[in-house]
Symmetry: C2
Subunit: 481 residues, 2 copies
């Protein structure tokens, strides 16, 4: 039977690592800082990928693939970019048995190599916009790693676009952030705050960085997707020029945007409990597991397993991702524990008595305990289960939203914010004067950073929480992953 | 208008490179030996991926992801494996600003890291079989590169499995080879020979390597997929052990198998002509392009474009991948050339006269020239086009099969084979005594290697083409990519 995990309330960090490993989402590898994504975790990622890829394509983006290895000199062209990424680079110095003339960098992100190609492809306004996405791996040398949340290598997608005008590029930046927010809220059942990053927190080389931030179960924030307006910074250093509608040479305005396997970690942290994972149906590898409860009598056993197979087939025919667990070597109780650990949203139990009554017993993973079990007639079961899955999806979102609201504060004073942050974390909406000094003061005092300057702003942002001068914006402070 | 490509008959190699670039499948990158896969080429790869991934999942395989970077010492554990791959390795020696204690290798293939994990996961026969596939990138330092066919970095999938018994593992090896053959024949319309590799040509570390070989337009062979029976070689060095049904410790029997973006190059080389790509419908990014032929009269123009939109919608509703080319800034003739270069299997033209007659003119890419154009009634056009696409798919396969047959020889003597190989290439079925010396003699004399020892063997393999001793097998010699 699956070993129990460390209780969430006792040690959230150990609970997380236990759940990720026991649910077989991922495992540590013998390679420092790198993880192995196991089939169950990868299936979850495939569902996230497929949702994002569909939304990218609907909005006119095309997938492409650029080299993993980038000449070091490319990274050095954009001053802020190299400053930001230099400490995290992995260097290839030897290839084919020889020392290389110039070291190659394993991409930490692909702005440089992709813009070198854009310079070759973009000649006229007729070539614009260029709307490219890449699914792939990147390497950023990390000192402290955590499964899914921060690893030396991770899987992600990175979008790179070029536009005729600033306003088009800015609209693209916001459109892609909205897509990430939809993924988080509608698929991963996780409410997010949308906003802009402060200068200190923005992407190295961007003019503006936008992000979505989610609140984890330990009341720390997680950046779940970012979208950057790059201005003409990269276009200038990579000499991307096009003839505009007036036959004049211009640099295009650009964006880049990315989301990663960290979204898997987010789903674990937001919804999981002491029995393991709790997965939102829309991203769950299996939405439903059917467990036949068969006794030793052979004829009875055969009848139950056959009926369970019919339920599985009916659900599958209705487009529900369903698995039938007809293993004979383990008990139903063992199966219940295992599928609870794996967070399957709905479990259907079917025994001889159920069969006699033409019904099945249905249990929701998000409502553990016997009370919440219901009997569904076998006739029309697929439709009833579909409805229940929709209810589960919505209930998980509402629960996460209530938790986020409960842990969102508007502290009246800096002392109150410091106390609350030390006690219990959470999102802290507070005025900020816009100075880097105040931002640093808060970080030094509380470890909290400005997660975002939300798009939704109050009429009057009040005074800066740190220096009490008039605030330019209301911002969200939080400790973060 | 798209520039003309070098004629195929004049210089096949330049023709190939021209087509790949002008059809915007791929481009050279500023990184030595690496290519950029452009959106059109990547869409082709996505269709191949999706077909393979579906067949892998149908046969019980699950996707997972393992680290890109592998400790050099892991590569060195299996003696033949490191000997084969050492000359092609790329080494990471610095990470995060420091020199690493042990260099890391960028995976050229993942047997070592995956088997290190299998050792952790496999304990009992109940854990078997393990059926894993990984989609990803690998790096093999290549001296002479060619777009899609041989690049330092390429995209591929690699399957890795572990089984209780040799016979199960061998059956898996053959099953996966059959899946590659289906991909080649049923999707890429390319007939292949299935067989086993000679000792000299097998995978470094395998007991047996099986491959599918296809014949390109220049009569050279291309290895299009390989499947290896690894025996217990890796299980022993990575100490993978399980308790068998008799409670005794055993090493599992293993397989690995892979196919890559080289399949895109194969489709180009087998079907393309002097007008560019000719794509089999089942892997084509667009199966159909609709080109409205509108004149300057505004009302007439609007009517034609509207009707073309309806045709597009009808085809799309029938599940056909269709694109409407309603650009105004270029002529229909320009569009015809461009879509011919891109190999779209079927083109639909729709002008005012067609509209008046409630018909559209349909042209097949594999039958250029005006004679082959047909008029289809607009009513029921989706069904008629679907049929035509199936005919195109079959016709491309039959043409490639005829070409393969025409260029498959059973030389009566070594002299005849040498002459034929020097003149025109092709597949040469000939007896082989099984000695590495004869294999090397043929290679030194003709540049041809044993591509496979086909599964289909004649009753009597005759005598060795090189030494005239009794042959153990009939083999296929060819010059190869």
């Amino acid at each position: 039977m699956a070993e129990k995990v460390t209780p969430r309330s006792e040690d959230y960090s150990r609970w997380y690592t236990d759940v990720v490993q026991r649910a077989e989402l991922a495992d540590y590898s013998p390679v420092r800082g790198s993880m192995v994504i196991r089939p169950y975790g990868y299936a979850l990622w495939e569902n996230i990928q497929s949702a994002l890829d569909g939304m990218f394509k609907e909005t006119g983006h095309q997938n492409a693939y650029f080299p993993l290895l980038i000449p070091l000199s490319f990274m050095q062209r954009e001053a802020e970019h190299v400053e930001g990424f230099a400490p995290e680079l992995a260097l290839v110095t030897h290839g084919g048995g020889k020392e290389l003339e110039e070291p190659l960098v394993i991409r930490p992100t692909s702005e440089t190599i992709i813009n070198a190609m854009f310079a070759k492809w973009i000649k006229s306004y007729r070539d614009l916009p260029v709307l490219i996405n890449q699914w792939g791996n990147v390497v950023r040398w990390e000192m402290r790693t955590r499964l899914f949340l921060r690893t030396t290598e991770f899987l992600w997608q990175e979008g790179h676009t070029a536009h005729e005008t600033e306003s088009e590029a800015r609209a693209e930046t916001r459109q892609m952030l909205d897509i990430y927010a939809r993924l988080a809220e509608e698929w991963a059942a996780t409410p997010v705050i949308r906003g802009r990053k402060s200068e200190a927190e923005k992407f190295a080389g961007a003019v503006d960085t936008y992000a979505i931030e989610a609140l984890m179960g330990d009341r720390k924030a997680l950046q779940a997707g970012t979208s950057h307006y790059l201005g003409q910074n990269f276009a200038k250093v990579f000499e991307i020029e096009f003839l505009d509608r007036n036959n004049e040479l211009q640099h295009p305005h650009q964006t880049s945007w990315g989301a990663s396997t960290r979204l898997v970690g987010m789903a674990v942290m937001v919804h999981g409990d002491d029995q393991g994972l709790v997965l939102p149906p829309r991203i769950a590898p299996h939405e439903v597991v059917v467990v036949p409860i068969a006794r030793s009598d052979a004829a009875e056993r055969a009848a139950v397993i056959e009926a369970a197979g019919r339920v599985r087939d009916e659900l599958a025919a209705a487009g529900i991702r369903v698995v039938l667990d007809d293993r004979e070597e383990v008990t139903p109780g063992f199966k219940f524990n295992e599928w609870e650990m794996k967070g399957v949203p709905v479990r259907i139990e079917l025994g001889p008595r159920d069969l006699a009554e033409a019904q099945a017993v249905v249990a929701r993973r998000d409502q553990p305990g016997k009370e919440s079990k219901q009997a569904f007639p076998l006739t029309g079961i697929a439709g009833a289960v579909r409805e229940m899955l929709d209810e589960v999806q919505e209930a998980l979102y509402q629960r996460a939203l209530a938790f986020q609201k409960e842990n969102s504060h508007h502290p009246a004073s800096y002392e109150e914010m410091k106390d609350l942050l030390a006690e219990s974390g959470g999102f802290h909406y507070a005025g900020w004067c816009g100075s880097a000094t105040c931002e640093q003061t808060v970080k030094a005092d509380t470890q909290a950073t400005i997660r975002v300057i939300p798009f939704d702003q109050p009429d009057n942002p009040g005074r800066c929480i740190a220096c009490d001068e008039p605030a330019t914006d209301e911002v969200v402070f939080a400790k973060a992953y």
